[in-house]
């Protein structure tokens, strides 16, 4: 199953995915879902999981027919080559945009949480240099790093959740009635927007081998990210209440700040920032690798790695030019990126699948 040269296994790719999802989960989900679904926001991950299940089966169906082929090859076969190239080009643009967005989120988070009044270039430049260096190696390096990083993140997250559980007030998470159904459904879009990286990573990487075992490992990953998303929302809303959570930029951080172990160990929020940095690093580097991989398939390159440096320079300038304030960053994320993610991560693969079924290619 493992091709040690430059391919990662499906299991490793899902390790990477879970690591990637951690950072947006704790930053974005509590705030987004609390604004829409209020006290019922903790139900949104379950609705999102139900909606994502068909996507998993679409992935299984594509993997059965096309094995380890990249999605560009799949699109070439299902649609015409011209349509496939246009869609692929749009994917490169989207990927560059969200990469720049995450670079900016990473810098803004450090500025908001522990290091205000520092020039953000101090954070952005080392991160992008490090990402370019790792992206120049191969995905295996990052996948093996994720195999170490994810357990660290999981242990820390579980300890934080256990620590804040006594502070959770049931009255902040109830009452739930049928009137919450639509807000919960709507708020689950924010969660799907991030989870949609799962089908995207799966389809668009020709660096992943053993795609035929996506069913079992995909389900395990879905349960893992459901666990992270549910507890990040339930603890944040349960401790502070939806009316406060919707006003705080990084709710989970605010909750952890209140955590005190045995009245002796305090200010453990610095650890969550460190864990966030690891997650952001994996996210930025892996998306850079995928962008290079898509370019490789699109332009029929032999070796796209030398492009890593210049590509990160482009991402660097876009991240600077993307937003001017945290308000713009949040507004862009909520009103544009959520829907773009759903379009590129869920709708386009689903449409390709439907076209494939109609044309009897799948």
């Amino acid at each position: 199953m493992r091709n040690s040269q430059d391919k990662i296994t499906i299991r490793q790719s899902m390790f990477v995915l879970t690591t990637i999802v951690f950072s947006p989960s704790v930053r974005f989900f509590p705030n987004y879902t609390a604004r829409i679904a209020k006290q019922a926001s903790w139900l949104a991950p379950f609705v999102a999981a139900l909606i994502m299940l068909p996507m998993l089966f679409i992935s299984v169906s594509i993997a059965k027919k096309y094995k380890d082929a990249s999605f560009i090859t799949v699109m070439d076969d299902i649609c015409t080559k011209a349509v496939s190239r246009v869609i692929t080009f749009l994917y490169i643009l989207w990927l560059t945009l969200i990469l720049a967005l995450y670079v900016r989120y990473y810098a803004e988070r450090l500025l908001t949480t522990i290091l205000p009044n520092v020039d953000m270039l101090v954070f952005i430049i080392p991160m992008l240099i490090l990402s370019a260096v790792v992206a120049r190696k191969n995905a295996v390096v990052l996948a093996r790093m994720s195999e170490i990083i994810l357990p660290v993140i999981t242990v820390f997250f579980v300890l934080c959740v256990i620590g804040v559980l006594p502070e959770v007030k049931i009255k902040n998470l109830t009452p739930i009635s049928y009137l919450d159904a639509l807000p919960v459904l709507y708020s689950s879009l924010g969660i799907i927007a991030i989870w949609s990286y799962m089908p995207f990573i799966f389809h668009f990487s020709s660096i992943i081998s053993g795609k035929e075992s996506i069913k079992k490992i995909g389900l395990q990953t879905l349960i893992a990210i459901l666990f992270i998303s549910f507890f990040s929302i339930a603890t944040a809303v349960g401790v502070l209440g939806d009316s406060i959570i919707r006003l705080i930029p990084i709710p989970f951080f605010a909750v952890i700040k209140q955590l005190s172990l045995f009245d002796s160990i305090e200010r453990i929020e610095a650890f969550i920032v460190s864990v966030w940095l690891l997650s952001d690093f994996v996210l930025i580097t892996f998306f850079t690798i995928i962008a290079l991989d898509i370019m490789k398939n699109m332009f029929k390159l032999t070796d796209p790695k030398p492009l890593a440096g210049i590509y990160t320079v482009i991402v660097f300038f876009i991240s600077l030019y993307l937003v001017r304030s945290e308000f713009e960053l949040k507004e862009l994320s909520d009103t544009v990126i959520v829907y773009l993610n759903i379009a590129f991560g869920v709708i386009i693969p689903a449409l390709i699948f439907i076209v494939g079924k109609v044309r009897k290619k799948l």
Partner: protein
């Protein structure tokens, strides 16, 4: 701006020489294209770092910001 141009040129030399030795023509063409984009973006940003951002334009377009 001169520093940016020098940096991109230096990066270009570092990457293009090994690519040329391996005769990877497509990679060289794409590298030059990406370098041109990077340089244009850099110059555009450095000319006025406080101009309306991409998000500002998008939000204005969809009527979310005045």
């Amino acid at each position: 701006m001169a520093v940016l141009a020098a940096l991109i040129t230096a990066l270009g030399f570092l990457e293009i020489i090994p690519l040329d030795k391996k005769e990877y023509k497509r990679e060289i063409v794409l590298f030059i294209f990406l370098a041109a984009i990077a340089l244009s973006l850099g110059l555009f940003y450095l000319k006025d770092p406080f101009r309306t951002s991409i998000a500002g334009h998008i939000l204005k377009l969809i009527g979310k910001e005045e």
